[in-house]
């Protein structure tokens, strides 16, 4: 099969998936007065949560600890390089998503970061763009859907990947098929990219070890805490740093307690 044909097939598949997933993402809309959490799949999600916690306890947590060594030490040079490499490979995808979100400034920033880090940063091992003041910018197709006005959908906990929403899950699937690097990299290179991302996750798990442990292992209901923390944080990130504090989401303990 020629590269063009392969590419075209991939595009068709992607377009079909987008349509299917948009329909799916739209299928579970929270009732107006549902509160901050819409979780109709709770029983299934809890089963996945138990599985994920088992994987964390048996694999991710011990491996991340042995990687990390001294918990108070600065991240090792190797850890930094691995994280940089994985992040750099995500930059073209993020540029595309920023473009789809109509954010030309950040689309350009991601494109420039990728160019600088891939060339001057030895294939993305060093974040020279960051040193020049072009900070990393994380986004995904889930955010693009948010910008397009697609509702969040129900809460989901995915095997191995962890907390998500229907909209974010749809975004993940689309991101797999629309990665500009997907058609450029060889199979070996793709494997290396996947390995770098996986290693990056292990390193991140080690870095936020205390906070993650406290939620997963010290909570009375780790599923509910993970869900609430994830949803709040995701919404906060999507709203953007300049968003005004929302009166609708405001928690007023004085009114609640003293009826003032």
């Amino acid at each position: 099969m020629t590269r063009d044909a392969r590419h075209e097939r991939r595009s068709v598949a992607a377009a079909t998936l987008v349509a299917a997933l948009l329909a799916l993402a739209g299928c579970s809309v929270a009732p107006e007065d549902a509160g901050p959490v819409h979780d109709p799949y709770e029983a299934q999600n809890r089963a996945v949560h138990d599985f994920n916690r088992g994987v964390d306890r048996a694999v991710l947590r011990p491996v991340s600890r042995s990687f990390r060594g001294d918990p108070e030490a600065e991240p090792s040079d190797l850890a930094v390089v691995v994280v940089n490499f994985g992040e750099n490979l995500g930059a073209p995808q993020q540029a595309v998503n920023r473009l789809l979100q109509g954010d030309l400034r950040r689309a350009g920033r991601n494109a420039l970061r990728f160019t600088l880090n891939t060339t001057l940063g030895f294939g993305g091992l060093f974040d020279v763009a960051g040193d020049m003041g072009l900070a990393p910018d994380d986004t995904d197709f889930g955010e693009t859907l948010y910008v397009w006005g697609v509702p969040e959908g129900a809460y989901q906990e995915l095997p191995l990947l962890g907390p998500s929403t229907e909209r974010r899950t749809a975004g993940r699937v689309v991101d797999i098929f629309t990665d500009p690097l997907g058609s450029v990299l060889s199979t070996e290179q793709r494997r290396a990219a996947a390995a770098a991302r996986l290693a990056g996750r292990v390193i991140e798990r080690g870095r936020y070890g205390g906070a993650v442990d406290s939620v997963l292992y010290d909570s009375a209901d780790s599923y509910a805490q993970t869900r609430l923390i994830y949803l709040q944080n995701r919404r906060f990130e999507l709203a953007g740093e300049d968003a005004a504090p929302s009166e609708a989401d405001f928690t007023d303990p004085y009114e609640d307690l003293y009826g003032e």
Partner: protein, 201 residues
């Protein structure tokens, strides 16, 4: 005689203090400057502890003390009890507030430990209803900066923060859910929860 008077005076003051803790005074108008000053002094205290170079255990104790000093602990505590708080006696409420003070200070004090080697910086103040939200940015070693927001009120009688958000995660909501789950696990027995809380966090 003098002793009796003193004792009575002390008891009255204690009772007054307890009443104050449970039913805040009507609010004076909190100004933006007061809210900013409170958080600035909180941030200065945290940064001073971080920079002190003390052993970690001593830092945790300092963070606990800072939390208990700057937060409106009775309000935060009673809010997290939810509807179970309404059925509680005043004695239970006081015992719960006391146990919660240690629990929340240890828990969030332990999160401040991640700040060792970093610093907090004041950003801006925004009004939300009759309160102020003060934004700070945390700059930690080897991490992208992130936001920590404090919401401030003087309804306890003096300016205190009653909620904090770490990257959008709302302490009041998160703790209310967690305390609710703890109560579930204890058959909604508040006294058992109070006893257990004293060593948790």
């Amino acid at each position: 005689m003098a002793n009796d008077l003193t004792r009575r005076g002390t008891l009255a003051a204690l009772a007054g203090g307890a009443a104050l803790a449970l039913a805040p005074r009507a609010a004076q108008a909190l100004t933006e400057a007061q809210a900013r000053d409170l958080v600035q002094s909180l941030v200065d205290d945290i940064n001073a502890v971080i920079a002190s170079g003390k052993p970690e255990a001593a830092m945790y104790r300092d963070f606990e003390r800072i939390f208990a000093t700057y937060a409106d602990v009775p309000t935060v505590a009673l809010y997290t009890l939810g509807v179970d708080g309404r059925a509680a006696t005043d004695a239970q409420k006081r015992a719960y507030i006391d146990a919660f003070r240690g629990y929340i200070a240890r828990k969030y004090g332990a999160r401040f430990r991640d700040f060792i080697g970093g610093r907090l910086e004041m950003e801006g103040v925004r009004r939300i209803k009759s309160y102020y939200q003060v934004r700070t940015t945390a700059y930690l070693r080897g991490e992208d900066p992130f936001f920590v927001d404090f919401q401030v009120s003087d309804r306890s009688g003096e300016p205190r923060f009653f909620n904090m958000f770490i990257e959008g995660v709302n302490m009041l909501l998160t703790e209310r859910e967690e305390i609710g789950a703890m109560l579930d696990r204890r058959g909604r027995d508040l006294d058992r929860l109070i006893a257990d809380l004293r060593t948790m966090g």
